[in-house]
């Protein structure tokens, strides 16, 4: 964000850039020609590195670092570089550390030699040196030293200087990735650091927490309030981590409570007439005081210069807070659109997501969503979507502007943009039925355009809209049919004809289909093939409907006339049908199609002829021709992203790119904890005012384990399983036992026990058997191990 401002700030930058680039280019060219080129021979560089003069040494190290970044081989210098690790000069030290970080993995054995010297630096007087050493040691990718690193972190955690403590916090995830088995120790360190007084130690500690154990919210309870308090002071990166941590924490610890709004009805003038409290149906969310504390602490962060922080705060408001909070977050989110194009694009993704659930909040900012001529496709797509999302909530004037805007871009030269804006108009009509007629008028005006892409897109959208709500669009179809005179695009004509046919079945008594067919029949020869196909189809439908109607008539009459004259009546009816205008029209169209040049058309005509050959049996034809069509639904394009977590990369990419589970590490938001299942709120009180007192993690853990074991005891007593447990524990002590012994013992127990408990005893027996077999297998494993060890010993002996 900053740099974009800088760009604006300096209008001459572009010129400066070119001038300076030319300058620098000239200089470097001069350099390459001259003798002081950048390349230096191996021996010369080695001599520099071995030099006793700090100045030469630094020069050598600089060259090595440069070569490292130029991807030139620097491994040969390893020993020469690393032996300088104990150099007291801080500058030298830094460069050596840089080298070590880069190459330690390539030569772990040599790197190990340097560990001693680095360890010494951990006790240096200068805190900067201590922090550097800690960072370097944890950053070397040599898994062997994980324990040493762990110890170093332990020392760092207790350091006087907050800088070193910060380095310790940052080293924790690195140590974890070196060796995940160090986790228990690391958790101890982490719980100390989370309670640190300095906000810039706590921040990295939270980052480390999210990295290694995001689910251990039991570590957070004590520090919840101090974290909330420190939130404002932290740097942006720590704020981000803390916001995320607290978002997840709040979801798990504060059940969602709601209450009905009560309204006090003042009844009368006199005091003895009581006020009446009435529960209304309005439900509002009640916030836990601790949660409210957090949300209020977030508020100032909405003014942060970091776009990520603003988005994070908004997501907290969205997922935790009441609508009032969210409303506050919307403005700053819109403010992100001022940022550079990359930020604008991602911010729009997030805005669209929120707008899907709360579109009305974005109406005041509608002018931010108007397209610019130089917007990139990713950006205008989202902007068009936003315009359609807010459309139903906008006032009339704004609605007309949005429509005009979309209409304007429907005439653009970019096919994608045309398509998108026409679809957008369709979505507007869909989401706002009251104003749908306007959208329709805009769409219908495009039909006679010469732009085929536009017309076919418009008709597709119109067709979808009509199909969704056929009943209310009778007039529209009539209008469309009228447009046939002016429409030239073959696809457009075909679509209109199809729509007319589809509508004929909806309202058979009162439809225009036969008339349209009559007119179309006149110009049949001049139509395009797709249109001809649709005309034949229309003719078939019209004829079928006619037959069905006549059939219904006939059956009515038949009931009246009795069965004797049945055969006569039928033949009379058939001739009546054949004489009817519609039958004649059908025959005429068939004739036309039969002699058409297209074999496809001829085939179709033949099919329909066969289907409708017998006027009496129309069922099969009805099944084929009048089948109900699935209603197409056109959701907002981002609808598929609904439910993805705000601010995440998975949201930006969409699930169709990254797969159903999202990117690795993507976490769905945890569901609200159910009322009654949340951790005790008193846990958070424990550290109240405890910022000063030392936090003792070990004790806490002990009490926790005691509590757990006690609870277990109680449970055991309740279940009456003491004996089982006892048996298990004795078994654990007695080592050498066979299955037979076990069986004998359990039998004894069974005998001793009451009759009612026999079932239990049996199950117990089964259990114990299983356990026993497990034990046996373990024993076997042990034996195997022993064998292996023997083998190893053998080998060693051989080798020696």
């Amino acid at each position: 964000m900053d740099s974009s401002w800088l760009q604006h700030a300096d209008p001459n930058q572009a010129r400066d850039l070119t001038v300076e680039a030319a300058q620098v280019l000239g200089i470097s060219r001069g350099l390459k020609g001259g003798s002081s080129g950048r390349t230096i021979s191996f021996t010369k560089l080695k001599a520099l590195l071995d030099s006793r003069s700090d100045r030469e040494l630094l020069e050598g190290l600089r060259r090595v670092i440069s070569m490292m970044y130029q991807n030139k081989p620097c491994l040969p210098y390893f020993s020469s570089v690393v032996k300088n690790v104990a150099n007291p000069n801080l500058e030298v030290k830094k460069l050596v550390y840089l080298y070590l970080l880069h190459y330690a993995e390539a030569d772990p054995d040599l790197a190990l030699l340097s560990v001693n010297a680095i360890q010494k630096s951990l006790t240096d007087q200068n805190p900067q040196v201590r922090a550097l050493a800690l960072r370097t040691m944890s950053g070397m990718r040599v898994p062997v030293i994980s324990q040493i690193v762990s110890l170093a972190i332990k020392r760092g955690v207790g350091d006087m200087s907050p800088h070193v403590r910060k380095a310790a916090a940052l080293a924790i995830p690195k140590c974890y990735s070196l060796d995940p088995n160090t986790l228990p120790q690391l958790l101890d360190y982490l719980s100390i650091l989370l309670g640190d007084r300095q906000y810039f130690v706590v921040g990295p500690a939270v980052q480390a927490f999210l990295e290694i154990c995001p689910d251990r919210i039991d570590l957070i309870h004590k520090h919840y309030r101090s974290l909330v308090k420190k939130l404002v002071d932290m740097d942006e990166w720590s704020q981000l981590a803390t916001l995320r941590l607290l978002l997840f924490y709040s979801r798990r610890c504060f059940p969602r409570r709601t209450r009905r709004v009560t309204k006090v009805n003042k009844k009368g003038f006199y005091e003895d007439e009581r006020d009446e409290t009435v529960e209304t149906n309005e439900v509002i969310q009640v916030l836990d005081p601790d949660l409210e504390l957090f949300l209020n602490a977030c508020r100032p962060l909405l003014r942060s210069r970091s776009s990520a922080v603003v988005t994070s705060v908004t997501s907290c408001f969205l997922y935790l807070g009441t609508p009032e909070y969210l409303e506050e977050g919307v403005g700053p989110l819109i403010g992100l659109l001022r940022g550079p194009p990359e930020v604008e694009e991602v911010a729009l993704c997030n805005i669209v997501l929120i707008s899907l659930s709360a579109p009305d909040l974005f109406v005041p900012y509608a002018s931010h969503f108007f397209l610019r001529a130089h917007d990139r496709p990713q950006v205008w797509r989202l902007k068009v979507e936003l315009l359609t999302v807010i459309f139903p909530h906008a006032a009339l004037h704004l609605k007309s502007i949005i429509l005009s805007e979309l209409e304007h871009f429907a005439h653009s030269s970019d096919i994608e943009l045309i398509r998108e804006s026409v679809r957008a108009i369709g979505r507007c009509a869909q989401s706002d039925p009251q104003n749908a007629h306007r959208c329709f008028r805009v769409l219908l005006n495009q039909i006679s355009s010469f732009d085929n892409i536009l017309v076919s897109e418009v008709l597709t959208v119109v067709r979808h809209l009509i199909q969704q709500e056929p009943a209310s669009h009778r007039k529209t179809v009539v209008r469309l049919a009228r447009n046939l005179d002016r429409t030239t695009s073959p696809e457009a004509r075909a679509t209109i004809i199809w729509l007319v046919g589809e509508f004929a079945s909806l309202d058979p008594d009162n439809n225009i289909a036969p008339d349209v067919l009559r007119i179309l029949a006149k110009g049949f020869a001049d139509e395009s093939e797709t249109a001809k196909q649709q005309i034949v189809l229309l003719a078939a439908k019209v004829y079928l409907l006619f037959l069905q109607r006549e059939g219904a008539h006939a059956s009515d009459e038949k009931d009246n006339a009795g069965e004797l004259q049945g055969g006569e009546a039928q033949s009379a009816q058939t001739s009546a049908i054949l004489d009817h205008r519609i039958s004649k029209l059908w025959n005429y169209i068939q004739l036309l199609a039969r002699y058409d040049v297209s074999y496809d058309l001829r085939d179709r005509a033949r099919l329909f002829k066969a289907l409708l050959a017998d006027p009496q049996s129309t069922q099969l034809a009805a099944l084929l021709l009048l089948a109900p069509k699935p209603v197409p639904h056109s959701p907002s394009p981002s609808e598929s992203r609904k439910g993805l977590v705000l601010g995440s990369t998975t949201l930006v990419l969409g699930k169709d790119v990254v797969g159903i589970l999202g990117l690795p590490g993507y976490q769905e938001l945890p569901a609200w904890v159910e009322d009654g299942h949340e951790p005790d709120p008193k846990l958070r009180d424990a550290a109240e005012g405890g910022e000063k007192e030392e936090y003792v993690p070990l004790n806490a853990r002990k009490t926790a384990t005691v509590a757990a074991s006690r609870r277990l005891d109680a449970a055991v007593k309740e279940q009456g399983l003491e004996k089982v447990v006892a048996a298990g524990s004795t078994r654990a002590h007695g080592k050498q036992r066979t299955l037979d012994d076990w069986l004998a013992e359990s039998e004894e127990e069974e005998e001793g026990s009451d009759e009612g408990e026999t079932e239990e005893g049996e199950s117990e027996e089964e259990e114990s058997e299983e356990e026993d077999s497990e034990e046996e297998s373990e024993e076997e494993e042990e034996e195997e191990e022993e064998e292996e060890e023997e083998e190893k010993a053998m080998r060693k002996g051989l080798m020696s």
């Binding site: 401002w5 930058q13 990295p204 999210l210 970091s306 990359e342 004037h397 999202g662």
Partner: protein, 556 residues
């Protein structure tokens, strides 16, 4: 999980790798990354999932001054955070290596770059991005060289190599303090000349409907602050918005400075209590103090009634375009209207023809106190941009009444530059005419009998948007009109070649679109520390309004 950067790459404009730094895991090499990256179609989104690479990675990229910066992550991350990190990286690099960030500067200072990268992001966890804090832990060996480049002496550019600057590196390192009192300001700042500069830059984003009425009009402001002052100063910057009397000053400020964001140093409580007052302890050097936006729209669009009268919105340059002129409808005329009668500027400034403030810095001191000393705002660098559809083959017979115009056949854009320093009066109207040539194979004259229907202006309130048509035409009328319309398909085809928008870019020095003024900048002597007695820092203010194709007019 929150922000985890696996690796960072910087490429130059030929996609050669300038820098590759691995933070965590086993990210792909720069070569494989860039080949996969460039295989994606243009324009590329800023976040790409490169699933064809061996460990699939997500690439976050920004481009800055001919450099492409890419950060990769194999896990889900907060998308904006990584983009933020990249921008912060650019800031820090520019702070340490000199302002236009170039590939050469990075290549020549790898040891500084390496230290910065390790300091800013520790093992993939972003931790320290404050330039001032980084100054304390990263040694800049070529301080002298940097100084000289800033002054503008080419000879001592850092490109000459570090060997020349050794004397400066061997100075004793500053002993770091045990805990930073202020995270964004380094300790022990000393300056011989104490200076404070405020640069307020506003960037216009205005869209006009074809009718000429504004659709959206905003001005995006940012306040850049340069503090070169010793010790730990406590500053108070007071902003004033136009039109506000003393009583409703606060509301005016809140209306003018919308959706602000602030540098962490700004005391938010103070701003909340008395808007317009920025109280802060600045970092050393140049930084972005605040950002804001101003809505310049005269009235809200979100009403049920169409605005009755035409609304006024002052802009120094506006554009209009009439398409489809001439016998065959292939000609167009663009009009540029310039107006330097800036509102809110004293008449003295208006009448003075000689603009003394033509230098790059028109700073003013607060000595006099009043803003009447302001130089007349100067309008510069005017360029009109007309983008054409892709089908347009060329645009010929370009005739500008002032300046010069070129058609760029690659981008299909006309760029028309109008000089403002030729001595003549700037105000007035300039025109540009031209003829558009479409694709060669456009002769499919078949369906001439079908009449072209003029696009109907159907919705009831479209009068605001498009002026020249009757707003509420009934359906019947429309059909009859359409029947008589003589336009042929050919004309329609030509119409499709006409530009759909026209935009103008310019700079105005000494004027802000929002009308914001710096009312005062005070060093609070009681709260400040380390600033010597009687030291009165020099204070300068600069206003600049820019439009980067920011004033745009739709063409019907």
């Amino acid at each position: 999980m929150s922000v985890a950067v696996d690796a960072l790459y910087i490429f130059d404009d030929h996609h050669n790798c300038v820098l590759e730094h691995v933070y965590n895991g086993r990210p792909p090499s720069a070569q494989t990354l860039i080949s996969s990256f460039t295989s994606r179609p243009l324009p590329r989104p800023s976040i790409l999932q490169l699933s064809d690479l061996a460990p699939p990675v997500t690439a976050y990229s920004i481009s800055h001054a001919a450099l492409l910066l890419v950060a990769t992550s194999s896990k889900d991350a907060q998308s904006l955070a990584i983009l933020d990190f990249l921008y912060r990286l650019v800031d820090v690099f520019e702070d340490f290596l000199g302002c236009p960030l170039l590939a050469n500067k990075i290549e020549d200072n790898y040891e500084i770059v390496a230290q910065l990268l390790v300091e800013m992001c520790d093992g993939g966890t972003v931790c320290n991005t404050e330039p001032n804090a980084l100054r304390e832990s990263v040694e800049v060996s070529s301080v002298l060289g940097k100084l000289f480049t800033q002054v503008g002496l080419p000879g001592s550019s850092p490109a000459l190599g570090p060997a020349h600057n050794f004397s400066s590196t061997l100075r004793p390192t500053v002993t770091p303090t045990t805990g930073p009192a202020i995270p964004w300001r380094k300790s022990n700042v000393r300056h011989t000349s104490n200076e404070l500069y405020v640069d307020i830059v506003e960037s216009l984003a205005v869209v006009f409907a074809p009718s000429g009425r504004p659709l959206s009009a905003r001005s995006h402001g940012s306040i850049a602050f340069t503090a070169k002052i010793s010790g730990v100063p406590d500053l108070l910057l007071t902003l004033a918005a136009p039109g506000g009397t003393n009583s409703d000053k606060n509301s005016e400020i809140l209306r003018t400075v919308q959706l602000p964001v602030f540098h962490p140093c700004v005391r938010l409580a103070r701003w909340k209590d008395s808007p317009g007052e920025l109280s802060f302890v600045p970092p050393d050097g140049r930084f972005m103090l605040a950002g804001y936006e101003t809505d310049l729209m005269p009235s809200s669009l979100n009403t049920d009634q169409p605005p009755s009268k035409s609304d006024k919105l002052f802009l120094p340059a506006t554009v209009d375009l009439r398409p489809g002129l001439g016998a065959s409808g292939t000609e167009f005329e663009a009009r540029l209207t310039l107006n330097t009668n800036f509102p809110g500027v004293s008449s003295m400034g208006k009448s003075s023809t000689s603009r003394s403030g033509s230098g790059p810095i028109s700073s003013l001191s607060f000595g006099g106190g009043s803003s009447g000393h302001s130089h007349a705002p100067s309008l510069e660098a005017i360029m009109v941009t007309i983008p054409f559809p892709g089908d347009v083959r060329s645009v010929t017979e370009l005739k500008p009444s002032r300046g010069e115009a070129n058609f760029n056949t690659f981008d299909k854009v006309i760029e028309w530059k109008v000089p403002t320093k030729d001595g003549a009066s700037i105000n007035g109207v300039a025109t540009l005419t031209g003829t558009v040539a479409g694709p060669l194979a456009s002769a499919d004259a078949e369906d001439d009998q079908f009449e072209a229907a003029e696009v109907g202006k159907s919705n009831t309130m479209a009068g605001y948007y498009e002026d020249d048509t009757v707003a509420n035409r009934s359906e019947k009328q429309q059909t009859t009109v359409n029947g008589n319309n003589g336009a042929t398909k050919k004309a329609h085809a030509n119409r499709a070649l006409m530009p759909r928008s026209i935009a103008v870019s310019f700079n105005v020095k000494g004027w802000l679109a929002s009308g914001i003024k710096v009312d005062g900048l005070v060093v609070d002597v009681k709260k400040s520390k380390g600033l010597g007695d009687g030291v009165r820092p020099y204070k300068g203010v600069k206003y600049l309004t820019v439009s980067r194709q920011g004033v745009e007019r739709r063409v019907s």
